[in-house]
Symmetry: D3
Subunit: 316 residues, 6 copies
């Protein structure tokens, strides 16, 4: 369209000196991938309470457009890097079990064909972590999990089936992980059932309530965990439930409340984890864009993806 | 609490001359019921698009509190009447097929024990109509359906299972109703697939698009339908999908659009149908209170329930 | 500020060919007034349900800025006319009886000093009509009332005192008006108590439910009323409760519902009444800007004021 | 991705029997086009009041996805048809005159290379109509305009330059059209300046205020206009400012108000115009998605595009 | 309903391992109560600015349902405890003085019949604290008050009567408390009148502005206050005006602003106070759910009630 | 209006002991001014993304009414002080270059006639800082700038002209300031282009990213900057782009994100700068009230103005 210089299907102003973070996403073309991958898992019908978390992959990708590729604090431009965007996994309208199967088999296939790729999963609700980690375990072996969450997510399966309240119990009972390889950070008062805290203890799960985070600091806690996990597992998987944040910082999660983490803490945590070579996958879950204010929570998710990519590039 | 005259668990001002319509709802106590019943069916996970229609039973009941029992136009106070409130059917968190089963079996049980009771069902999405009508058919025999809807809801079941796009197809294919006993009113341009309009024709379904409603008037259409159905079926069931309304009048449906009915038309229609002895059940579906403006659509639903009760009392 | 041509305390673009309707409002300077007046009555604490109608005078005045002075349908520019803006009556924070007294005495004083002025009152909730009409009656003698409302507002005073549910009963019981001089238009089903409809009948109040408005048309009804009232009263007062409108057209009233008037009907009604010489006052009440969508209801109020001014200029 | 059947970049449920109207949009590939075209003109900085109308092309296209291709009233599936989507014209960030130049030159180029193509322009504010019609006039000769609008848009250019209040004056003064070839429908009371109504008269513009629309009906008015224009102009251009609608039906325009058209009227009008062979272009302007409720106004725009396409296919 | 296992009037999913905090609320049945009580005081008409704080008791109770009974940080399940829910005090529609009388007399009656019960009052606006503390003083003797607030609430009574700006002045002038037994924490710049800070000084009130809270820490301040009050008063009453919080943490108060407390600080404060045996009552006021975002402020209130209950159980 | 004591054009409750901060604003009457001035600059059309920052001057002034004149922390009542309110600069509707010219020439005229006055400018977007500082430089000589911002605002001018992304580059290239006299505080990761960070370095701009603010503290940084600037420039100008704040504290900026400053930090910073005699002007920009929640960001702006006035009074 040489004589139509202004006609375009992307009619947004483009500053020649700025790379939008969304430019880092390269559509997957069936090739074997190394480096970071991005996979959307738009499933939220298994949620116990009404959830629009299925809209989050689209919204977080859009928020990538609100950020740039350059970190002034590290004086590094990510534009040389890239994230392979595998797209989203299509869910079944009415059969939720089938949806979980699609997640597990799709991810297993991807991990097998690109074994050194480190995927970031954009949920969806927390129920997606069970099929994801099962796939990881089959492909990569023993998995340790660092979970940021206000909740244990260790509920029984009899009452409501595999919901967003049960993923880590499913993984333990299925044998995909061992309880002692699960570390839960940010668990909060008045947000869990005692029997599930007891279940955590009985199964060797290590739990850091928010009081520990305030007192010891997130960095010290994570260093301890990594030191322990490194000796015991093949890979570490990070599961970031955004409701670990105080409601002031992440108002778009279904289960918000006071007394959680602030934005500095979580960025510090992700920065540390991203540089750790054993960390081979991460999910960001429980963001419901229909409840959010100005996509604040999806902005934090996009910022977290970029922080992870920044640290990932510094792995040695 | 004789010396605590102002302490109460219902601290709302009560005018001694006004009966709230919510007072008409009498909690069911396991007795055999005659007259009108109310049954909440808070299911919306089968919806093709994200839907909070599961909140509608609660919201519509609350809106009953925004209206009174007195019709000035008929100079009749409904306070002598009542509606038996059976409560809601509890849905399964993750197994939607099980939820549909619970609807069907619960309603069959209720209809069997209270065969002359006429229930009004508060959805939920339109997927609930399939199990409801199946129960009706088993208990009461041949069912004719008058459906108000912008959409046919005759989609195939292969693509997504029993969703809110399929209930009338399920009923026809299952043999619970015959196509020729289904009348669809208010079907709209650019809101359906041609193959499903073809399916309607092939199966003898009678379709009145909005243009017919504008030209002939709702009363004439309904009189025709009733005249025909009365000769052929045991009972008539009315299914009111609120998206039959123009978006200005029912902004809280998932699938809103221009060019639908106005509030006067639908009240006229319900008034007419309520007086018709063969009409033995009605559902009101596809209201998502999380999308609505000031519960306008649930207000219209509550007003419709009252209009139905008013006409019902005039049956002879 | 000759060398600062762009510095201003009203930095809004002004088109030289357009007069904003707000320019018609001339601040009162203690002079005797003829023609139309505008008086804000920002009182809504007496409302039975939570109401921000006290914000309406400010919002309606602001919406005057959204309209111009020119009627193309009458080919008349109102810019030669004006409305004297008396400002608002200051309410007491905690003594609602005192607030009603301030309304009554302020308006009595104004009417005495400007006996030929025709005021438009911007409520506030409907409780303001009682003190207003009492003042009218004392200054001008026998008052007939044409009330547009979904509700009778004839509730008893024992239960909650002088609220927005009681003004017309207060006026009748106080002797400020006779029941037979009260005409209620637009009264709606399921919005009133039977005992109050009975009270209306017993006291000779004439009631036109919405069904009458649909069937006879607003113009025919109003002509009847005026013909009757003219023989019996000194002046006619119009009380416009915006909830007479269908919720689609006036979403900002506390008590919205389906089945009311549309915007064309009410404009037609006000246009007719404005030309009638015996109409000596009007209020517009029950608009809560905190509940409205884009000030639609206040826009309709401002449009009504202008329509009234247009007809007023045509009185002979 | 044969062994990854559920991985996709469009993870939305697709019913095999339904074609989304968005499927009708075919991206332009530099070829000569016949039939309908779609061109986004995301410009709203020239608006007198703050406007986000620049977001409308994106939102209206998205709303195409909320509708299907099938008209039950005409029993016609548009899927055999298509609309060539030329994309959007990129606007300058700070030089609005340059933005208008880009519109004019882009459209002139397009019209020259595809002279029989009939474009639908998605604004943007009404300022875009001036450069568009200039381009039309240069390529196609004498242009007649049918404008749906609450406002004349004949303001002077001295006060604020070429804004959304001036396009038709610009066209007349520039000589691109003659005043007598401009027909304005739906002009409303208290929404215009007298001097601009006078200007319309002096320049032979024909004006139908809303009262005419109510009394004569939209079809009779349009037939008159077409009969007259056909003898005098080469082509007819339709300019649809959505604020011609009553605020209940199009709540997302910057300048909303009571007393306008309803959704049935406008669909009837567009249906009639779409079948008229001399109608060679249309714009839909003044929709601000940031102000709308649930994209109602953009839904009406998308429905209008489809209605136009339906009638267009019936031209002979 | 043995053969209707899914029919229920509480159709919410119930996980067998989780107790909702709302289960802790036991409806009062006229018995003498020990332990904690809950009393709603839905009064906000005395507020200086428009306030919907009367909705807060209902909303905070609903938010109790969003939390569980288990504190992981204390490894304690509150399910063995309970809070006696006395319901709400019914307010008069138009007589605000009568409403205050109802509060005072109801609470005096309750305190007399259950003298060892410790009530938590859910406001309502801050005007409720005056009648509450008067009742306390009459039943329990000398009262010390620890007030969390951005404002003194020591305004004069002449200007607007007993509003939400005057409660502590009323108490001092009425002799119900002595100024030196009032401690105000979190008073903020640009939020008070100098004459009222002077009044505080002259009456011996101790004031800790936010700068003190930042510098000394909330725990040190509270320990000082308790040490002093214990020697001088019979009981300590805590009054928590939620606007002591920074607007980021409590966006639902009428008078929000920057520079206040964060969620950790207030939880720490309540935790400390709850363990102190002399603390015999608390109110939580100035939450307007109609202004809040996702009930954040009511969530914080519910969390505060639970924190108080936790500490209360640890008193010796 | 002696016998109309309650009729007023300001019908808001006035407590005799409280001075609203808005009372500090004295309308300018063409006199020479000393002390603080306030000038609204309602321009946001040059913004790269859609912005309603033009509404901020009106909203911030309104929020002045939400605060009082008294600082309890300094025990100082500002009521003896005042701010001269010059009003707003009127912008051109379509010629943005002309709007920038109006800003520059108006401010130059004001500064010349009141050379010792220290103005606070309420934007508007950040594009206004370029013409403002040019005026300053011409009147007062060498200017040093302390900029709080998540962004450099050093973008090239070729791509989009003088937008809100370019003001500091414009100033450097125009020679109005030297790069070494520009200090940028709070610059954030993933919010800028590398070439513009490089430009900053090449031009001697000093940049403190958020990590520096967290580590060194804002006070230490500002003391360093002032010490350096004092030796080199005539006056210091402070430019406060509110997006330097974390999104939790300033949700109403167009470009919000996590990881910024909190309300305490910015108040501390402004307090320090306000006492510094060389600081001769300040702007507050990039607040879009149409995007904000409950005017939180404008409240913070009003609080900042008052904090500045407080410190200003302590200059010696
Ligand atoms: Ca979780
Ligand atoms: Ca969680
Ligand atoms: Ca349907
Ligand atoms: Ca439907
Ligand atoms: Ca009324
Ligand atoms: Ca009413
Ligand atoms: Ca226009
Ligand atoms: Ca227009
Ligand atoms: Ca207080
Ligand atoms: Ca307070
Ligand atoms: Ca900036
Ligand atoms: Ca910035």
């Amino acid at each position: 369209m040489e004589n139509l210089p202004y006609l375009t299907h992307e009619a947004k102003f483009k500053d020649s000196g700025i790379h939008r973070a969304s430019e880092l996403l390269k559509r997957w073309g069936n090739e074997t991938v190394e480096g970071l991958g991005l996979i959307g898992v738009p499933l939220s019908k298994p949620s116990i309470s009404h959830s629009g978390a299925s809209f989050a992959p689209e919204t977080i990708r859009k928020m990538m457009n609100a950020f740039t590729t350059y970190s002034i604090q590290q004086d590094t431009d990510l534009i040389a890097s890239s994230i392979t965007d595998f797209g989203d996994i299509l869910m079944h309208v009415t059969n939720l079990e089938e949806s979980h199967r699609r997640i597990e088999s799709s991810i297993e296939t991807i991990l097998q064909s690109s074994p050194s790729m480190k995927p970031i999963f954009l949920g969806g609700d927390h129920s997606i972590t069970a099929p994801i980690v099962k796939a990881f375990q089959r492909v990569h072996g023993k998995v340790g999990i660092i979970q940021f969450d206000a909740h244990h997510d260790l509920c029984n399966l009899e009452d409501g089936g595999p919901s967003n309240g049960t993923p880590f119990r499913q993984l333990i009972e299925h044998g995909a992980i061992q309880g002692k390889h699960l570390y839960q950070i940010g668990i909060r008062d008045f947000s869990n059932g005692k029997v599930y805290s007891d279940y955590a203890k009985e199964n060797g799960v290590t739990v850091y309530p928010m009081s520990d985070v305030y007192q010891r600091g997130i960095t010290a806690i994570l260093k301890d965990i990594i030191a322990k996990l490194q000796k015991e597992v093949e890979i570490i998987y990070v599961s970031l439930d955004m409701d670990v944040m105080d409601q002031a910082y992440a108002p778009g999660c279904p289960a918000i409340g006071p007394g959680g983490m602030d934005s500095q803490m979580i960025i510090e945590a992700i920065s540390l984890l991203s540089k750790e070579p054993s960390v081979c996958g991460m999910d960001i879950v429980e963001i419901d864009p229909t409840l959010d204010f100005r996509d604040m929570t999806s902005r934090l998710a996009a910022y977290s993806v970029l922080t992870f990519l920044m640290g990932f590039g510094r792995r040695n």
